[in-house]
Each structure stands twice: as C-alpha cells, then as structure tokens.
Symmetry: C2
Subunit: 281 residues, 2 copies
Amino acid sequence: VYNIRPPLPAVGGNEGVAEVVEAGAQVSDLQKGDWVLPAAPGFGTWRTLAVAPAASFIRVRSDIPAEYAATVSVNPCTAYRMLRDFVALKPGDVIMQNGSNSAVGVAVIQLARRMRVRTINIIRDRPDLSYVLSRLTSWGADLVFTEDEIRGPKAREALAKLPKPVLGLNCVGGTSAAEVARLLADGAQLITYGGMSRKPVTVPTGTLIFNDIVVRGFWMSRWIATHSRAERSAMLDDLLEMIHNGELEANIETVPFARFSDALLRSKQGYRTHKVVLKFE
Amino acid sequence: VYNIRPPLPAVGGNEGVAEVVEAGAQVSDLQKGDWVLPAAPGFGTWRTLAVAPAASFIRVRSDIPAEYAATVSVNPCTAYRMLRDFVALKPGDVIMQNGSNSAVGVAVIQLARRMRVRTINIIRDRPDLSYVLSRLTSWGADLVFTEDEIRGPKAREALAKLPKPVLGLNCVGGTSAAEVARLLADGAQLITYGGMSRKPVTVPTGTLIFNDIVVRGFWMSRWIATHSRAERSAMLDDLLEMIHNGELEANIETVPFARFSDALLRSKQGYRTHKVVLKFE
C-alpha cells in the first residue's frame, strides 16, 4: 500500500546514514569521512556499499551516534514538521496524539516540550505499561492514557483541567482517530501520518460540521519533494543539534553492525569523477 | 445531535420568510409589506405571527415565489459558500458530490453551471431514477451515477475522460464519503455538510497521506456568526437574483398556506416602538 514503488529489481530501505569512503575528483562538497543521508526518498539503504552522484546526498554532522543519524530523516522530521506546518503553536497550547510510543510519537513529546507545548498522549495497553509510562513522562509527556482509559472518567477529569487540544496527531486510524478528533478544540487540525490499525480514519460528522475540525495528512516524502534542499538541511541540522545536546532521544535497539566489504566496489565504473563511494552502517 | 438547542419551551423552525404587517415608530429600515428573513439561526419560524426587534431580520426582495424566499437561507447559501470558500474554482474544473438530489445538491449543480464548473453527481438508486436523472441533467449536471454505478467500469471510463475533481461535497458519510475522497485529485478538499446515512465520515489513510486530501466541514450557522450582515445580504441578494431570473430552481412541493390570525398579537407589549410585527407564510 505504500506510495513509493521503485522499478524492480530494487534495493529496499528508505533510511540510513553512510560514510563517504572515496570522493570523485570533481566532487567538491563531500570528502572521505563525511557522513551523509540520501537526499531523496527510496534510495535503497539496505546495502553495504553504494556509488552514486554526490548530489544524491546531504552531509550531516558525524559527532552523534550513528543510530541517530541513520533514523533522523523520517520520524523525527515528521514530528518536527507536524508541530510547525499546520497550527501556529504557542507556549501553553495543548496537543494530542495516539501511538505516542512510536518513533514519531516520542519525538513529538520531546519537541513539544522544547516549545513549551503540552502533550496528551494515548498508547496501547501493554505488559510493560509502567516502563513506557515512565519513559514518556521522563521525555516530557504531560498526560498519558491507554486507548481504554481515554474514554473513562479519569481521563475526562484530567482533560477538563487543560485547554482543549488545538492539534491532533494520528498514526492509528479507526476509532482511535475518532477519539482524538472528538476531544479537539473547535477549529483544530487532525493530522494523519500513519495507519497502524489498518483501518481508515473515521471522524464523526458533527465533529467536522459543528466543531470545524480540519482533517488532513502528512507525508514526509511529499514535503521533501516540495521543499528546497536548504530547508531540509536546516531542519536536519536543527534536529541533530538537539540530539547532540541530549534533548531528543529515541527508542533505539542497537544490534552489531555488519562490516562492509569493498569487493563490489571494484566493479563500478566511473565513480572516480562525479560520484562518491559510501559505506552504510 | 444538532448543535442549536434553544432554551425550552421554544418555537421550532430555522427557515422561513415573513411579511412585515406593522413597523414600530422608530423602525426606519423596514416597513409594512417588506419581506424579511431571520438574521440569526434558530429564530423559530413555525409560527404564524412574531413581534421582534427590527435588527433581527434581513429584508429580501418580494418579487419571487414565497417558497423560494422561505428556503433560500440555508441550502442554497450552503451550496454558494462551499463553491467559493474552500477551493478557488475556475471554468473547466470538476467537482464531485453525493446526495446530489438534495436541496443543497441541486443548488450546487446550478451554481456550478453558472461558474462553468463541471459536476460529477452521485445519487441513491430509486424507483423514479430516470425522472431524477432528467431533472439533474436539465439543471446542468455533467455526470450522474448511483452509489452502485460509481464503483463500476462505466463510471471509471467516464471519469477517466475528465480532470480529477478538485472539490468534493459530502452530505451522506460512511462509504459514500470514502468513495468521493478516493476519486478526488491530489490536494483536493472534501467538505462535509451533512450526514444522511448517520455514519461517520470515513477516509482511507492513504488518501490523506499520499493524496493530501483535506477533509473539513461546513456549517452555515457558523458562517453567519463569523461574517457581517452586509456579506450575508450580498449573498442572499445574489441568490435571489438568480432565482428571479430562473437560473436557480429547487425541488419544492407546495402545500396550501395556513392563514394567520392576529389574536396573539394583541397580547404583545411594546411592539409599537423598535419592533416589527411579522406574518410568516
């Protein structure tokens, strides 16, 4: 169901960081040792080595953990844009999201905290609920409820003490999206960036007509296609600075890296002029 | 489920035209014989007589059928606004709607025709289908399909010959709304103004994320509350001019009017200064 379908055969993988191991003679803006991210979606990062035009990459700082550089380009960027591009949020405002323990969700919590925007977070019930609760709270989540709790009196009481959310973020769909829509302030926006329940987004008719809720979607790939490389670089630099300063953490499980071999490289033609040779970690 | 709930006991009725039968001495802008519409929603028009401040009414022309004046303020106005306030439509553009034989739907068809905007119309299957088809076509409907037909090969072929719709109008909800959403152009808007199926508006997640469809609602009462009396008067004058010229017809069944009695009037105090006395037809 995904909207990016490269011609087959293709290398999978949309995200990753690579290190430049060799730069062609006419490449001026990248050099050996630089870290880069693919500039366009769907580059195919599930590989050890690549030879491609230097313009296909964006250089990023290399003084942060590689896991963070490798995973910054989709989820934290999605959180970053959704908090900026739909509603003009100001300190004290409240937003609401489901799937709050997702990679985007935990970035939303931390980015909102820096903006002094309060977050109401919905998560699925789970065996390690208290662990997840403590993680989200440590990152700055103001309120956290399970999908069941959000419909109950405890949530109602807690929500009544806050201004109604002016922005809702949905990555679940179905009744979970309807629940977020129902609780938003009049004129608020509900942004869908995922559909983990595989159910469509359902919004009560009255919520649209009487509460004037605006329902739309966000897709990072479209943002990339419709914005300049400079705008994207500025966003990445901003996020990587936060990561460097310990202000933006992620749920990352690290596994031992497969070490690259450069056997494949020998067969590539022309890489010594305009192209760079990359090693993906 | 409706959002206007006057204090009880109350007189029902949101729409209607009234004739001024007497104007208070300090009333300068209305006089005996004028036709007026209530300025605010929820006035309570299911009555024979009323005494109320002159500022509660908007004068309209009286050289059109009373049935039209009595029904212009909600449905034709809703069609008028939905074609102007969401997408900047230009001649040749295509829009799509369900519930196309509703009072709003038939106004949309006729207003779109004047804007040289083409309409794709969905209606329910019904015994008098060929009659409804001929009516909608005579008013300018470009394509008309039943809810079943819109999913079939005949509709697919016809739709492929037109640009994709940049605006969708929904008064049904449920799968009918999803069907309209699915067929819209990237970046199009889907406006909900009713929920006749009593099912929520359902939009596929991919339609929001990948096609960038904006889903929102329209409620005439909010528009009235957030716009000036002059803006509303201009819209009403525009619509009544079209009605006068035979450019905007409606599905109206006329029934004999109940004649008013002025017995109630005698008990009203103070109507001879700032108030007007009205007769509703």
